[in-house]
Amino acid sequence: MKFNWVIGGEAGFGIMSTGITFAKIVSRSGYHLLDYVEYPSLIRGGHNAYKVTIDSTPVHALKEAIDVLVCLNKATFDLHKQELTKDSVVVYDNEEFEIETGFIEVRVPFKKILREEQGQSIMKNTIALGASIAVVGGDLQILTDLIESQFKKKGEKVVDYNKLFIKKGYDSVVQNYKELCRSIIAPHPEPEEQLVMTGNDAFALGAVIGDCKFYCAYPMTPSSSVLTTLASWQQKAQMTVRHAEDEIAVINSAIGASHGGVRASVGTSGGGFALMVEAISLAGITETPIVVFLSQRPGPATGMPTWTEQGDLLFAVHAGHGEFPKIVLTPGDVDEMIRLTAEAFDLADIYQTPVIVMSDMFLSESHSTIPHANVNRLFASSKLNRGKTVSNPTDRPYLRYKVTDDGISERLIPGAKGHFYQANSYEHGEDGHTSETAEDRKAQVEKRNRKQKTYLTNHFKMPTVYGDLNSASAILVCCGSIKGVCLEVMNERKDTAVIHFTHVYPMDQKRLKVLFGSSNKHILVEQNSTSQLGSLLRQQTGIDIEKSILRYDGRPMAASEIIDQLC
């Protein structure tokens, strides 16, 4: 029953908040959703479109054809008419503009209602929400409950004012188009309690679950909402969130805080990450835990700030001069983002090295539903494994960089009486003092490198396999947010299977070679132009996949384009 509702209008007129409100109604009615916002890097004047794909089962990928298109301006119709079918409903105001024929028209007198009720133009969204609920058979009560909690701080007057315009929009449709109203989101009698969140929200929540106490960032699309969300949680989560002067300060202060004993994290996109790279290397040699959230957008340089890509995979994997271990994770959806973020803080502490959690604009900014119970379960089961972090050392004298079999030394939180040490960005001996002897150099390089082996044995997770690899005629290989669209392909083409990497770097060559075998059915599906996951697989394991399906125009991958290329 996959169903698509889309609203479009001029940027700066509340399209985003209308979209998220609609998404929450869908969730509270007991349905699943995935949404997507298309917007240029402008605050006012461009075109915004908000798409919500609804289903009774979890939504892995956006539906392409539009079922209901709400046009707050003419441009919305013009830009989206290609996605309409003869069964599509177009909601618009014929007093404002005319549309081409061939679709089901629902005329809502936005202008007239605003005139009669003396509403500001921003209230057009609110009328549209009411009208939308009527068209898809939603429960008006759920919407008014949401409006009440959203506006209660602003007082009863504002709540009533909003309710009035909702009612006007709703009634207008019910009175004039009763026969067109469908029951797409008729409330489920006992809906499972769900949360509606983006990948960025999920990272923020995962960070709190992982006991991140210090988050530092400089705003950069599409990672910025992690900063604003965590900043708004500072009191409740008892953490310190700092908007620093630049990304270099961001990561160095997080490393300083981590040295001081708190779990620390930073968030950015490609350009900001580029500025952080020297400090990634610093964390490598000083063996300071740090979690980096890297949400990709199309580059190079400023690129396309508000669009999506997976073009920084190899950059992340290779970030930092010199040789040191690093862990890169690529969660595929909101649920995995929460889990892997919490896990990232454990891994950073256990291996005392940088851990990069990757996202992209599509995962970072699209909302989807997740059962509330999943989050509670994860929080209850998360034990916070700090590895060999200690507040009092076992050995006297304490050796910060003691050479060990697993490569990991005790990390003493500064402040313990009777001890002191330095974390050193220069090469050093076991006690942390600078050393340039060949013996110390070799011993420390090898010690750090051993941490990678330990990780591969103890914490590396093989990619998740969906479907049956033996019977599949095509196996889609992917990492990160591409998982969703690949699962969608699997739903439609039962002869496909999916291999999805979450623990993308470093890779366990032996085990992966067994998994991939000698089959030539593998196809890389990536949101970049050079098949970076393919290169990484070759480099790390020798597995060479020839076929790839790539998209790099900034738009999220569609299931149909993958199916078309499957032959």
């Binding site: 270099i248 202060s253 981590s258 040295h259 509330h372 989050v375 313990a416 002191f420 220069y426």
Partner: protein
């Protein structure tokens, strides 16, 4: 006193004979010992350069950071554990050149750090290129026809951008350095101690003799609480006159006391994880 001071002594320094860093290192240890601190109770973040090499010669909970980034590293360390006095020991190139942006914003934030800058006018560890503190026209390996830029005015810059304690001292005067560092550490908020430090190997201009001639102790009755008076004093450096002493001091709440977590009454590193997600989850329903 001597034993207390000795506790801070690490490896034997590798500085050139006669380098001002020897005296600065000694003054820092004396200032720490005089406050009854020991190596377990002090946090120090070092920059990269001859001054930063003190990391091996001074015992403390230390972090030898990246060039230019000692200040942000120290900002994070202080926010994680505000109970620990935190020093930044770095050079003029590190602080006013590579890390200029961080210095600027640390002043604005009034972070409770004591920043001790070894101001020697050159990049010693890379064998003698000009620093941003070098006088206009200074000839060096990287500026064979003389540096085109004028020198930075670190004291005036710090005062105008929000530093709440700004002092200047001279590497030829250990008691004075010790006093300035100690006053800086006792001050709540960002304290800068700019130490004029002859580099005997690479700087033929700013010698001990030069500073003995051009430096002078602030006159009795000088009022360091006057913002405009301090700025007038601070820009004397542009005319090669070097006031020594506390140039500026004012009271203002440091950064770490203004973050919400400070209300918990203990360092961030000791605050446990939240016990419920209930309050955070509500906005996603």
């Amino acid at each position: 006193m001597l034993t207390k001071k000795r506790k801070f002594s690490g490896h034997t320094p590798t500085w050139c004979p006669g380098c001002g860093d020897w005296a600065i290192g000694g003054a820092i240890k004396e200032a720490l010992a005089n406050q009854d601190l020991d190596p377990s109770s002090v946090g120090v973040v070092f920059g990269i350069g001859c001054s930063g090499n003190m990391n091996d010669f001074l015992n403390a909970y230390a972090y030898h950071a990246l060039h230019g980034r000692a200040i942000p590293t120290a900002v994070g360390l202080k926010l994680a554990n505000h109970s620990m006095p935190t020093l930044v020991i770095a050079g003029d190139g590190d602080t006013y050149g590579e890390g200029g942006n961080h210095f600027f914003h640390a002043c604005r934030g009034n972070h409770d750090l004591t920043i001790i800058v070894h101001d020697n006018g050159v990049y010693g560890l890379t064998t003698g290129q000009v620093a941003p503190t070098a006088l206009k026209g200074t000839v060096s390996k990287s500026t064979p026809t003389g540096i085109i830029e004028r020198s930075v005015s670190p004291l005036a810059f710090a005062i105008s951008q929000g530093a709440t304690f700004v002092a200047q001292s001279f590497a030829g005067d250990i008691p004075h350095m010790k006093e300035m560092i100690e006053l800086g550490m006792r001050h709540k908020g960002l304290s800068l101690v700019n130490v004029l430090q002859p580099c005997v190997t690479f700087n033929r201009v700013n010698t001990y003799q030069y500073y003995l001639k051009k430096g002078y102790r602030l006159e009795a009755g000088y009022d360091p609480t006057s913002y405009s008076g301090a700025l007038v004093k601070a820009i004397e450096m542009d005319e090669e006159k070097f006031p020594l002493g506390v140039i500026y001091q004012t009271k203002s709440t440091p950064y770490h006391e203004q973050v919400p977590a400070y209300q918990q009454g203990k360092p961030l590193a000791q605050i446990p994880r939240v016990s419920t997600l209930h309050d955070l989850i509500e906005e996603f329903r």
